[in-house]
Every structure is written in C-alpha cells, then in structure tokens.
C-alpha cells in the first residue's frame, strides 16, 4: 500500500484521539450534570448537545466555519492572537470533537443514571464532598458506560466527513482524513487507494464499535 495511505490513516487516528481527549472532560461533566442535576435550561442544554446528531454534518461544519472565519466572532479573536485555525489539523480536531460529543454525553449520561444514588448520598454522609463522591463513587460505578461512550465518540470522529471538509478541507499531507481521502480518491478515479482507505476504515470502526458494545453490555449486567 502506498505511503500516503498509511500517512492518512495515522493522521486520522491521531486527530481522532486528540478530539476524544479534548471532549472527554467536558462530555463527562455535561453527562453527569444532565443525569444528576435539575436546573433552568436543562432541556435547552440537552437539545443543544444533541443537535450535531440530527443536523447534517455539513451544516454543523458551516456553523463552525462562520464562527471561525476571520470575521467571525471566534475567528477574529484567534486572528488577533495570531492563531491560524481553519484548514489546519486543529480544525479537523474541532470538527471531530463537535460531532463525537453528543455520543459521549448520551452514553455516559445513561451510565450515571444507572448508578444507585444511595451510594452517592451515603458517601456524602461519610464526609466526602460532591467532587470526591464524583471521582470515587459516581465515575467508577459508571465507568463502563463512560468508556463505551468515549469509544463511540472516537469511532464517530474516525468517520467524520461533512464538517471536516467544511472547516479543514482535504489537503494532502495536511488535513486529509480517511473519510475525505476516500471521497477524493474515488473522485479522481484512484480506486485502489480508495479501497485501501476503505479497508482500514472498516477495521478501525469495527474494532472501536465492537469494543464499545462489549463494554456497554457489561455495564448493563
């Protein structure tokens, strides 16, 4: 297989890992918040978090593009700070994180909801602050669902296409991922390369989803 195929594969795995690492603390925190707290605007937050699941990824990408463009509200700040973001690997990471986030939140939230609240309450009576209860009781007891959510989000990131091409394009050796690579190779008639990327995509996606399901099944038992 050509070196280019391996380069695209490694790049995709690397940025998907980074995206997953970035979304983990926020995703777990939001999942816990939605599972355990009642507050004004909870339904709005739930809806907002789930939006990337139902919006066309290209539409999500367009929103990100508008925000991050030089004249956009966030892009202007980045520009002033001298940070180049759009059409770089950083934009790929962001697009992947935004699209994977809802899967992490929904799966982890279900895990937190399954934890018997008695354990958390008793831990508090034993002198543990809410933060300590979270790290020593809630998170360990929901860990299977949380890990399953992380793997699902990672799988989603691996296959991200629409939002990624909007904010990062498909620059060979720069921002080209498995999904955008397949599309580009098919478009220019390089079927062998497209098939190579396809095989790698199937293996990675199958492995990640299988592992996620395996862990999630354990969480339900």
């Amino acid at each position: 297989m050509p070196v280019e195929i391996w380069q695209i594969s490694w790049f995709t795995i690397l940025v998907a890992c980074l995206a997953t690492l970035i979304m983990m603390p926020f995703g777990i925190a939001v999942a816990w918040l939605l599972a355990r707290c009642t507050f004004t605007g909870k339904t709005a937050l739930e809806t907002f978090v789930s939006l990337p699941l139902v919006l066309p990824p290209v539409a999500t990408g367009l929103i990100l593009l508008r925000l991050l463009a030089r004249r956009g509200p966030v892009g202007r700040l980045l520009d002033n700070a001298g940070i180049e973001f759009l059409f770089t690997w950083k934009a790929v990471v962001l697009a992947m994180a935004v699209l994977g986030f809802p899967l992490l939140v929904r799966t982890a939230r279900a895990g937190f909801e399954q934890v018997n609240q008695r354990y958390e309450l008793v831990a508090q009576t034993l002198g543990a602050s809410r933060l300590r209860v979270f790290f020593t009781v809630s998170l360990p007891l929901a860990s299977r669902a949380v890990v399953a959510g992380i793997l699902l989000a990672f799988s989603r990131s691996l296959g991200e296409f629409g939002a990624t091409v909007m904010v990062a394009g498909s620059i060979p050796g720069g921002t080209r991922t498995l999904a955008s690579g397949i599309y580009n190779y098919v478009e220019i008639g390089q079927d062998a390369n497209a098939n190579g990327l396809l095989m790698i995509s199937i293996i990675l996606a199958f492995g990640a989803v299988w592992l996620s399901n395996h862990i999630a099944r354990g969480a339900n038992h």
């Binding site: 018997n116 309450l121 508090q124 009576t125 034993l126 002198g127």
Partner: protein
C-alpha cells in the same frame, strides 16, 4: 456522658407532614411505627439528605440545622454515621476500602478499635458481593463509625434476618452502646429489639409523634 439532642422539625412529605419536637438526652433512641410513618425520613433529615421546612436539629454542641438562624450544614460536614436499610456498601471497593472511605487520621475512633469491636478483620479478604447480610451490616456500621460521627443513625438494621442473626447483631449493637460514647437513633418494627437495645423510644404514626418515653412503659400493650 450522654449527648443532648434537639430534634424540632417539620418536614413536608407527599401525604402528610412529619412533625417532631423532642429534646432528648439518651444513648439509644428507637423510632417505632408502621411502614411509611416517617421514621426513615426523620433519619434522613438528621443526615441532611432531606430538608426540613423549619425547626432545629442539634447534636450536643453541633447545630446541624436551624431555620431561624439560617443554618443548614451540608451533608458532608454533618458528621452523622448513617447506615441505610440497604446498607449501600460501595460495590466497587473491597471491605477495607469501604470501611476506611470516611476515615481520617484525626478520627476519634481508631481503625483497630472499630475492626476489633465489630470483628471485621476476617472479612477483609472477601469481596463485598459474597458477604452475608449480617456481615454487610457490620461493615456498614464500621464504615459509619470510622467517619467520626457525632451520632449514629441505623435504619432497620435487623429487618429481614433470622432470630440467630438478630441475637448476634444485638450483641454487637450492645457493645457499641456500652463501649462508645456516640448517641444512636435506631429504626425498628420489633418491640423486643427495642426493649433490648434502646433506652428511649419515639412512636410515630402518620408523621406525628404518638408517644415517647422509656421502652418498657411506652411499648407495653402496644400492638
């Protein structure tokens, strides 16, 4: 030395209000009454897991709640040793980690003393899942004691166990009463248990204190 307890609360429940206005000065207070009368709610209100509408909760010099003074000590700072009916041992921790969860080096009761008092040591190598009901109760009480509580709250610790276990458990509870200086609130449906362990009883029905006093006088003739 006996610790004085002020329990002067009104708690809103679905069907009725729980109202208790007691000033107690005893070692073991039993809460007696039918299911759903408000006994567990009373324990949970002392622990801070339920909120009182108004009133005052004081254990010795520790003011836990006062609607008048605007005091509502958070659960984790109340220093109450709460053992719920389902004991709620942490399933992902072993026995040692369970009992030391709330233990701090400054605890009044030492680890060794509590382990010795409740015969916990033989249980250390065993996972939580394989402990018997009685063993789970002992581990839960040890866990509560090691968090340096000012008061111990036991919610029906002997319900559902056979007579042999009850006798054994009562022996352990008697040891706690005799050897430790910690007041205890004890929820039970069983008159004999209360007569054996408690020195004061509060009879509750539909959230109201129906009778209160020494167990032998209050419970004689009570169905």
């Amino acid at each position: 030395m006996r610790t004085s307890i002020v329990l002067d609360i009104v708690v809103q429940l679905d069907a009725f209000n729980l109202e208790v206005h007691e000033h107690l000065d005893c070692e073991v207070v039993a809460l007696f009454g039918p299911t759903g009368s408000g006994k567990t709610t009373m324990l949970e209100t002392i622990a801070g897991l339920q909120h009182a509408l108004q009133g005052e909760i004081r254990v010795g010099s520790h003011l836990l709640f006062s609607s008048r003074a605007g005091v509502d000590v958070p659960v984790w700072q109340r220093r109450v040793g709460y053992v719920p009916q389902d004991v709620a041992l942490f399933p992902h921790m072993d026995v040692r980690r369970n009992i030391t969860y709330g233990h701090s080096p400054s605890s009044v009761l030492s680890f060794d003393r509590v382990v010795d008092l409740l015969d916990i040591e033989p249980l250390f190598p065993r996972p939580i899942a394989v402990l018997s009901g009685g063993e789970r109760q002992r581990v839960a009480i040890a866990r509560a004691l090691l968090s340096s509580p000012n008061i111990l709250l036991l919610d029906e610790p002997l319900t559902g166990f056979d007579n042999a276990f009850r006798q054994e458990a009562l022996r352990y509870l008697g040891r706690l009463r005799n050897e430790l200086d910690i007041p205890m609130f004890y929820v039970s449906h069983d008159k004999n248990e209360i007569l054996e362990i408690a020195d004061w009883v509060i009879v509750i029905e539909q959230g109201q204190v129906e009778r209160t006093g020494e167990p032998c006088s209050v419970l004689s003739g009570h169905a």
